[in-house]
């Protein structure tokens, strides 16, 4: 089973009829491809990014100006992040439209929802990192909105202990963005795919 999953997400023998694109439009697969692109470009961005309020913006300007492929890689990271959220939203819609959230696939629906929220949060934490005016004020707005929620003040105190743009806050957003959330997202994605594979026989294309 594990070996099967490692080698083929789908069984070795599938009817041609059942490989039709319209079953899923491959939206989940495309979203995961975006995630891989984000991981790769993000890893390269890590070589030059400096997570301090005084150094962050300059390090990104330096990356775009002096590093070969810097502007391209940063744009790719940004565009892939937009594409990921769009594809995840469409994937969720497809699941709702086809009723794929019903029993016995409830577990995967819950895991998928968690992934959707985590990816949105991942995008939000990445938004602050360039430390330009847009990043600063967008994050400030988000953190002010949080006050309206129950326990919002406590979450805010954990996320931005010294206010948006403070050294500790930037470092926390950075840690969440490059380590904590990606780790959880990739683990949950593996669970997501494992459950699809385990439920073979349930669907025409598995």
């Amino acid at each position: 089973m594990i070996k099967d999953l490692a080698k083929h997400l789908f069984p070795r023998v599938v009817l041609g009829e059942n490989l039709k694109l319209r079953y899923t439009f491959c939206l989940g697969g495309l979203a995961f491809t975006c995630l891989l692109v984000l991981a790769t470009t993000g890893l390269l961005l890590l070589f030059y990014y400096s997570p301090s309020p005084s150094g962050a913006h300059g390090s990104i300007q330096f990356f775009e100006r002096a590093v070969w492929g810097g502007r391209y890689l940063r744009s790719l990271h940004r565009i892939a992040s937009h594409a990921l959220l769009v594809l995840l939203a469409l994937h969720t819609l497809r699941v709702i439209q086809t009723g794929a959230f019903q029993r016995p696939r409830k577990l995967n629906w819950v895991v998928g929802c968690l992934l959707l929220f985590l990816c949105a949060f991942e995008a939000y934490t990445g938004y602050l990192l360039p430390m330009d005016q847009l990043a600063f004020w967008a994050t400030e707005t988000g953190m002010e909105l949080l006050r309206a929620l129950p326990l919002g003040g406590a979450i805010r105190a954990v996320l931005v202990p010294d206010g948006v743009g403070g050294p500790l806050s930037l470092l926390r957003f950075f840690a969440l963005h490059v380590a904590v959330i990606p780790l959880v997202v990739f683990s949950l994605s593996m669970l997501h795919f494992f459950v699809i594979r385990r439920q073979k026989g349930l669907l025409p294309y598995l």
Partner: protein
């Protein structure tokens, strides 16, 4: 893995691709050395660095150097409205914050900016321009990257 062709050609292609990847990674990891000599107070820019059409824009130092015939003009990139760093475009400069537009010589074309872009004093000598750093680079959020001297482009 049974279907992977184990031919000499495939091996050579794989080695070629790996070499290309390694070369790209090497180039990525060795950033271009800068041509602007920067000290904390001023920049030294060689005159031939300034293009005859357009301007040498140095957002990391908050200034742009414009050639006007045989004369040079150094403009502070801090918008005279609320201090955002303006960006260079084909016709001059534009402020991303509130839409002010400036001509290539820094005069206000439209928008909320009340005055032309601040001009910085240039000292010329021996084909080298000595320009003080602009205010645009010392704002609260946009800061100068602490790269080693001479690494800035």
């Amino acid at each position: 893995m049974a279907n992977v062709p184990r031919t000499r050609r495939a091996a050579l292609e794989a080695i070629g691709l790996a070499a290309l990847g390694a070369a790209g990674l090497w180039r990525f990891l060795t950033p271009r050395a800068g041509t602007v000599d920067a000290t904390p107070e001023a920049l030294r820019i060689r005159e031939e660095e300034v293009p005859s059409e357009g301007a040498l824009v140095l957002p990391q130092f908050g200034l742009a150097v414009v050639r006007r015939g045989t004369e040079f003009l150094a403009l502070d990139l801090a918008c005279t409205h609320l201090g955002c760093t303006v960006t260079a475009n084909a016709g001059g400069f534009a402020c991303p914050c509130h839409g002010s537009r400036f001509s290539a010589s820094g005069d206000v074309l439209n928008g909320p900016a009340p005055r032309a872009l601040h001009q910085l004093a240039i000292e010329r000598g021996g084909g080298v321009l000595r320009v003080p750093r602009g205010r645009g680079a010392s704002g609260k959020v946009a800061c100068v990257h602490g790269a080693p001297e001479g690494r800035e482009a």
